[in-house]
């Protein structure tokens, strides 16, 4: 069944791609098998992240960019993340509204994803969804993060090219001195450049962009998604960055660093899932009552939960996994 689905994804069938992403969102063993099967076929596609504050115009810009890449004969995938409600767990995913330009184009596959409690502007299954779209033959995948502030830089561990979208009227140059988002951009975009103040923010970005990153000169572009001015230049810059990445001989270190972060982030999510599914609700409730009454510091309660977790696992699956890992180290053939 997994093999059948994988074949249909590789053949670029939209229904299969949609089903595969849903499977990745649910997670579990089948999803892992599917992704492992598809990953070798992802070498071709270029994964581009667009990030920036809410209302910066990311969705509209992606709609115009998708149109431009289609004009250049490329097939396009879009992954648009919107926040889940921390109260109900539900979400309104509204990015398609801004992408009407490509709504009738079957060469563009758009998938909206809810963040489901994941921090950093991403959705839990967004990496897997990108694998699926690239394996399905999409030449370029545009990933839109949740509207973020200054510190949410997780997208850099996931995509090959980071586009940071800013708009006029977002503060003076002190904002651009702060650490975070602006440091991780490969391309800066001042969107809504038809508004007053665009030149000023572009100037302060030039100051930040002044130091080339690994030999890549970071461009500062001005766009107006409304009038489509600057879209061609942005598509050019994205393609140039792709070429730059292709010619970079010293890729080694950075790739290992990126893979390390991916592994840690996946491991962290797995541990959190494990913790949430095994925690004893009564113990949690009594610790929470302690925190509310002031008898317990939240940090102490957290330590207690972690202690209970590992205690409960002494004879559980974890020790078995450690044995397997030991065998792996000794060169057993049980792991691929």
């Amino acid at each position: 069944m997994i093999e059948q689905l994988a074949e249909a994804v590789l053949a670029g069938q939209p229904r299969a791609m949609a089903r595969a992403i849903t499977m990745a969102e649910i997670g579990g063993e089948q999803a892992s098998q599917l992704i492992a099967r598809l990953r070798p076929s992802t070498r071709g596609g270029h994964l581009v992240g667009l990030t920036g504050s809410p209302g910066a115009g990311k969705s509209t810009l992606i709609g115009k960019l998708a149109r431009e890449f289609r004009n250049r004969g490329k097939s396009v995938g879009v992954l648009a993340v919107d926040p889940s409600s921390p109260v109900s767990g539900g979400a309104v995913l509204g990015d398609r509204v801004r992408m009407q330009d490509v709504a009738t184009d079957r060469g563009v596959f758009v998938r909206s994803m809810a963040s489901r409690g994941r921090q950093g502007g991403l959705a839990p299954a967004v990496e897997d969804a990108a694998v699926i779209l690239r394996a399905a033959g999409k030449d370029i995948v545009l990933l839109e993060t949740v509207g973020v502030g200054q510190g949410e830089v997780d997208v850099t561990n996931v995509v090959q090219t980071v586009v940071v979208v800013l708009t006029p009227g977002m503060g003076d140059e002190v904002q651009s001195l702060k650490a975070g988002l602006l440091e991780v951009a490969d391309i800066y975009v001042v969107n809504k450049a038809d508004l007053p103040g665009a030149d000023a923010i572009a100037r302060s970005l030039h100051a930040v962009a002044g130091h080339p990153l690994d030999g890549w000169e970071r461009p500062v572009l001005q766009t107006s998604a409304l009038s489509t001015s600057g879209i061609v230049e942005l598509a050019d810059a994205i393609e140039s960055h792709r070429e730059f990445l292709g010619t970079r001989r010293v890729a080694g270190d950075q790739d290992v660093q990126m893979a390390s972060k991916t592994i840690l982030s996946l491991a962290g999510r797995q541990m959190l899932d494990e913790l949430e599914s095994t925690v004893d609700p009564r113990q949690l409730k009594s610790l929470a009552a302690g925190v509310v009454s002031g008898a317990l510091e939240p940090r102490q309660a957290a330590q207690e939960i972690v202690r209970l977790f590992f205690e409960g696992r002494q004879d559980g699956p974890l020790s078995r996994e450690m044995e397997v890992a030991g065998e792996f180290e000794r060169g057993s053939s049980r792991w691929p």
Binding site: P14, T22, E25, S85, S88, G90, T104, R111, R116, G117
Partner: protein, 135 residues
């Protein structure tokens, strides 16, 4: 978190009617009921709605119409869904739809019609009770 399947709903407005207050109210109410709601915006063609439903892999489609063109528009949406193999989706409708049209809409596969004055809680309850059960 992973491991859970949430009910995913597409809210769409086919045709040229631009009154989407109702559609947005429903989208928010279903969000508050814990569902993931994709909103497409106004002036959608039946093809756009069916393509969005397919790409988003939704369980439910909510169609809104206040223009009086619901019979022809919803029929064409149902045709496009069938053409894509999506005949098993739960389809519900809302807006200004006369009682005498409701039976005809049920016959083409619209499972329920929620007119003016409907409670959003009833809609959410109907969806939870009926999602994934239709042939």
């Amino acid at each position: 978190m992973s491991g859970s399947k949430k009910i995913k709903v597409l809210i769409a407005k086919p045709g040229l009617d631009g009154h989407d207050r109702g559609a947005k109210v429903v989208a928010r109410a279903l969000r508050d009921a814990g569902m993931e709601v994709v909103y497409t915006g106004i002036r959608q063609t039946p093809q756009m709605i069916a393509d969005a439903a397919l790409q988003e892999d939704v369980d439910v489609i909510g169609l809104s119409s206040l223009s009086g063109a619901h019979m022809s528009l919803f029929s064409r949406v149902m045709e496009e869904l069938n053409r894509r193999g999506l005949s098993d989706l739960l389809v519900v409708a809302g807006g200004i739809i006369p009682d005498e049209d409701q039976e005809a809409l049920r016959e083409i596969g619209v499972h329920a019609v929620f007119g003016p004055g409907s409670s959003t809680q009833d809609m959410a309850r109907f969806i939870v009770a009926n999602v994934g059960t239709q042939a």
